[in-house]
C-alpha cells in the first residue's frame, strides 16, 4: 500500500495548489524560496551540541571526583546484599577488633562484635536512599509551589507564601523528630518527614527566582507566540531558575543524609536497619577507647556530603551556557 498512497498524494498535490479560494487564500509554506532552503546539505542536519552539558560536566575534575565517589557509594549500596550477604546487625566475631587486626574484618568490629565494614556498606543504602528520595520529594513539591507562587503572583502567591512561612517558622529538626516519633520510624516515614521540612527552602528560592525571571522580555515574547502557562513555567522560566536550585539540591541531599544520621544517632532511626548515624550513636560511649567506631561512619558521611557538593558545583557550571561558553 505505501506506493499507492504516495502516488495518491502526488496526484492530489496540484489540486490542492490550485484551490486558492477567496476569503482566506493561505498558500502552502512551500511556495517560499529562501536561498538554499531545503537543499540537501542543510535539511536533516544532525543536532550538534546535544550532549554539550554532559561534556562540560565531564571536563570538570572536581565534578568527576565527586561523581566517582558517589557512584562508588551507590554501587556499594546496591551490591551490599551480595558483598555482605549476612545481616550486618549479626554478631560475627569478638568485640572491639581494631581495623587491620583481623583480615576477615578489615575495619574491625564494634562493641557487640558486628562487622564495621558490613555496617558501613549496608548503611550507605539507607543514607543514600533517604538523602536522594527526601530531596527528590522536597524538590518536586518546593519547585511546584514556588513556581506557581512566583509566576502567578497575586492571591495565589499570598496563599502559598503563607503556607511556606508556616512551615518555616517551625524548627526543622524538632519537627522531623516529632513527625517520626508520631508516625513511627522506618525509611519511608523518615524520608517523608525530611521532605516536609526541606521543601519550603526550595519553594522560597524558586519563588524568588520566578518573580524576577517572569519580568523578563522573553516571558512576554513567549506569551506573544501563544505558549501556555505550563509551557512558560516549565520550559521557559524553570531552566533559567535551575542553577541555584541544583546547587541547593546537592546541599539538600547532604543535609538529608545528616538529618537521617542525627535521627539514627538519637535512636529514632529504623531499628531494623543499620545506618551511619546509628553506628556513630552506638560507638559514642566508647569514643575514648575505640574512636574508630565513630570516626569511620563519620568519615563516610563527610566524603558523601563533599562528593555531593562537588557534583552540585560541577552541574551549576555545566548548566549555565553563559558561564561555560569559554570552556567549550
Amino acid at each position: 500500500m505505501p506506493s499507492d498512497s504516495t502516488l495518491h498524494k502526488a496526484l492530489a498535490k496540484p489540486a490542492v495548489r490550485t484551490q486558492t479560494a477567496q476569503p482566506t487564500p493561505r498558500p502552502e509554506w512551500r511556495h517560499i524560496h529562501a536561498p538554499d532552503a531545503r537543499s540537501a546539505t542543510t535539511a536533516h542536519l544532525p543536532r550538534r551540541q546535544g550532549f554539550r552539558e554532559l561534556k562540560l560536566f565531564l571536563r570538570n575534575p572536581n565534578a568527576i571526583f565527586g561523581m566517582v565517589v558517589l557512584l562508588t557509594m551507590a554501587l556499594c549500596a546496591l551490591t551490599a546484599p551480595l558483598i555482605f550477604p549476612r545481616d550486618p546487625l549479626a554478631m560475627v566475631s569478638r568485640p572491639f577488633l581494631w581495623p587491620g587486626q583481623d583480615p576477615a574484618f578489615p575495619l574491625g568490629t564494634d562493641s557487640m562484635g558486628r562487622d564495621v565494614l558490613a555496617g558501613l556498606v549496608h548503611g550507605a543504602r539507607i543514607s543514600l536512599y533517604v538523602g536522594l528520595a527526601a530531596t527528590a520529594l522536597g524538590l518536586g513539591v518546593g519547585i511546584i509551589v514556588g513556581a506557581l507562587a512566583g509566576y502567578f503572583g497575586g492571591l495565589t502567591d499570598r496563599i502559598l507564601s503563607r503556607l511556606i512561612e508556616i512551615f518555616q517558622t517551625l524548627p526543622s529538626f524538632v519537627l522531623v523528630v516529632v513527625l517520626v516519633a508520631i508516625i513511627g520510624p522506618n525509611a519511608t516515614t523518615i524520608t517523608v518527614s525530611i521532605a516536609i521540612v526541606t521543601w519550603p527552602t526550595v519553594a522560597r528560592l524558586t519563588r524568588a527566582e520566578f518573580r524576577s525571571l517572569r519580568e523578563n522580555d522573553f516571558v512576554i515574547a513567549a506569551r506573544s507566540l501563544g505558549f501556555g502557562h505550563a509551557h512558560i513555567i516549565f520550559r521557559e522560566i524553570l531552566p533559567n531558575a535551575l542553577p541555584p536550585i541544583i546547587v541547593t539540591s546537592s546541599v539538600m541531599v547532604a543535609g538529608a543524609i545528616l538529618m537521617e544520621s542525627a535521627l539514627s544517632f538519637m535512636g529514632l532511626g529504623d531499628p531494623n536497619v543499620v545506618s551511619w548515624g546509628s553506628m556513630i550513636g552506638g560507638g559514642r560511649e566508647m569514643i575514648r577507647t575505640a574512636w574508630y567506631l565513630t570516626a569511620l561512619p563519620g568519615l563516610a558521611i563527610v566524603v558523601t556530603v563533599l562528593a555531593l557538593n562537588l557534583i552540585g558545583d560541577g552541574l551549576n557550571d555545566a548548566l549555565n551556557p553563559r558561564f561555560s561558553e569559554d570552556r567549550l
Partner: protein, 335 residues
Amino acid sequence: MTAVLSVEDLSVHFGPARPVDRVSFHVNPRETLAIVGESGSGKSLTALSMMGLLPRNAKVSGRVLIQTPQGPADMLGLPEKRRRLLRGKQIAMVFQEPMTSLNPVHSIGHQIEEVLIAHENLDRAARRTRVLELMNLVRIPDAARRIDDYPHQLSGGMRQRVMIAMAVACRPRILIADEATTALDVTIQAQILQLLDNLRRELDVAVVLITHDLGVVSQWADRVVVMYAGLHVEQATPAQLFGDPLHPYSYGLLRASPRSDAGLTYRDAPLAEIPGSIASARGEVGCPFRPRCPAAREVCGTVQPPPIQHRGDRLVACHFPGILTQEERHVAAYA
C-alpha cells in the same frame, strides 16, 4: 478588501489613568501601518492590547477583531485559551530588545522549533527542516551552522532576525514590530526594516510598525496613525502627513525632526521643539494637546475634538485641522 485586523474604540484604564483612549484603526492585508508618537503616547499599550497581553490590573474596553479562517475573532473578548491559539498563529509580535527577548538557556533552533510544536503538527525532521527554512528566510547566514547556537553567541541584529523567524514561523497574518529596530544601530536597522518589508510581500503578512522614528515612517509605511496621550490624533499616508500635517502635534513632530537639507547645523540654531511635555493621561476636559498647542483657542479647553474624516480618507482629531500649516504658508507668503 476586508481588514485583517480592526481595532474598534479601544481604551485601556489603569485606575483613573487612561493611557489608551478610544483608539480605532484597521490594518489591511499586506500593508505596513505605522503607529507613531512620543514616549507615553500609548503606542506600546495599543500593541499589547492587540495581542491580548495587557497586565492584569489593566481594564480594557473596545474590540480587537482579527480575521481568522473561521471568521473574525475578538482578541479582547475571547477566553485565554482561544487567544493563545491566535497568538503566534494569526498575530505575532517582535519586541524592542533582541538582547533579552530570547531565552538565554535554549539554542535558537530549539526556540524556533518550540513555536512550531505549539501551533503546527509536524514530525521532528520536518520541524528541523522548517527551522532551517525560517533561518534562511530571515537571512541568517550559514543557518545550518548557526542552528544550535545560543542567543549570547549572536549579535543584536542576528537575535532580532531570530525573533522575527519565531514570529513568522506559523505564518501569521499580522506582524507587530514594537520598536523592533530602536535598539539596533542604523545600518542594521535598515537591514531589519528591509527584511520586514520582504517578509510582508513573501509571506503575505500585514506589518504594524510601532516607532517614534519619522524617518522609518516615511520610508516604509503605507499609512500612519499618529498617537498623542493615548488618543488617535491623525491618520494619513506618509506623503499626506509629511506634505501637509493636519494636526498641530503632527506638525510639531515634523518640525522637531532633524533634516539634512535644512542647511543649518543644530549646533548654531536649535532644533525646533514642542514646548512642555506629554500631558498626564488623566481624563481632563478639552483637547489633551491644548497646553502645548501654539494655535489653541477657547473651544480647545472645553471640548475634546473627536477624530473626524477630513479630505477623503484622512482622519484628524482637531477643531482646526491644518491650522499651523496654513499659518506657515501665510507667514511664508509675507516673508
